[in-house]
Amino acid sequence: MNTMLPLQNGDPLITVRGFLRQLLETGVVEAIFLPLEVDGGATLPALVADPAWLDQADPLTPVMPINSARAVSALTNKHSPARLGVVLRPCEIRALIELVKLQQATLENVTLIGLDCPGTYEVAEYIEGKHAGRITLADYLEVAGDDRQPALVGPSLRPACQMCDQPVPEHVDIHLRLFGLGTDQAIPVTLSDEIAEKLGLSQVSQPAADGRQAVVDRLTAARRQVREKELAAIRERLDADGGLASLFATCIRCHNCMTVCPICYCKTCLFKTAAFDHPPEHYLNAARRRGAVRMLGDTLLFQLTRLNHMSASCVSCGMCTSACPADIPVGAIFSAVGAQVQAAFDYQPGRDVSDPLPLITFQANEWTQIGEEK
């Protein structure tokens, strides 16, 4: 059902807080997961059980310190302990859908609340920009309307957001439609009839959908262009001799990319075991054989193994790039390679929980030439 949230105090943030409070107070959800403001100007994802805490909620925050699909995995696991509301960005929803397929989370008892996402800043740059008054909510919300990046002066969006071509959430129970919205207008919401009834909301016609669609189309097309350009540049570097080694030349194997990756869920990753702790002679022998050998070793092995294990499910959230201390465009590399793997299996991560993961399913009559003599 479509309805409108009338603007409270002329402030979209207060309006959304009020709506979420209503969800909690009417018992539609028993607890709600969303970003809370913390001292110092940042926000952190949190699970809120007491509606009073929603005064600190900032679901419109333009930062994502983590991909919150990881948090929803922790909150729900095999079965959710209560009716939970979770406020997520589109890339977090896509990651969550992959985690459900990987049996690391469930959507049962979970009310997915999705927002149109204009993009996010790196946390440190956001805090600095906010203090300096360069980042304002109004500016941030209006970006999509006239095709520009938010706050042109100062920090820019995270690289993954600059090339995000899926900024609208799919498969949500409640969709807050922020694109094409003036900050002085009521907020269009689409939600299930059942939830609307519990909240006492009735159908209100939303502004003409084509106006919003035009905004979404323009934003998506512009960002897809950036994406194609970025990925083409990465592919060109990969195609060059020693391209992969050169892209990861500054990798210090800190494993940050794996730690922040919402898809890398393994409790004991092979690379956190002693499997690659070789005896000292191993390195000396390798150096003698090759003339010299990089320390710490197995860097490309780590990256290539991760590509094999998770790139089919890579949702391009770019947390890996944000977490990389060596400024390697990990996310763009994984998106570039992942897109090729996903195309081979005609698989789109995060599209639908009923699409099976490409590496756990099969058809008897596919790729029948593989394994036969050439």
Binding site: L270, R289, G291, D298, L300, L301, L307, W367, G371
Partner: protein, 143 residues
């Protein structure tokens, strides 16, 4: 070993216990000749070959990696080799995407009774890898 005139490739072969390993055994007991460039590792199923097992030798300089499994439909565990096939598709897509020569990785279905086919396939692979030349990773220090 490494000069162009006489290049003897190092090939690592992961053979499934139920079909290809037994086929290799048959090749041996039948005294069939095939080049000695192949080092065999027995796995319980070709589906148990994680891509990391293939990547590690490739990055360490092996010139070829062979995976042998049961013919589709004949897997001892019903579906292991079908999954191998999909993993092989993903692996070769990734190798191609990152600029590795995916022709160094072979997947073949060879049954327990196909000793002759095993010997022939090994011969064929050694010839093919000799044509490709040594794996450039052999001399790369930045792996």
């Amino acid at each position: 070993m490494n000069n162009d005139n006489h290049f003897e490739p190092h090939i690592l072969a992961f053979l499934c216990n139920w079909c290809t390993y037994t086929g290799a055994d048959l090749a041996g007991t039948s005294r069939l000749q095939y080049p000695p460039n192949v080092r065999v590792i027995r796995t319980m199923c070709s589906g148990a070959v994680d891509p990391v097992y293939v990547l590690k030798p490739l990055l360490d300089g092996a010139d070829g990696v062979f995976i042998g499994g049961c013919h589709p439909g004949d897997c001892h565990y019903q579906t292991g080799n079908y999954k191998t096939r999909r993993r092989y598709v993903a692996l070769t897509e990734i190798l191609k995407a990152v600029g590795f020569d995916e022709q160094r990785v072979w997947l073949r279905w060879i049954s327990a009774s196909e000793g002759q086919k095993f010997a022939e396939t090994m011969t064929e692979m050694v010839v093919a890898i000799k044509e490709l030349g040594p794996n450039p990773m052999r001399t790369s220090w930045t792996v």
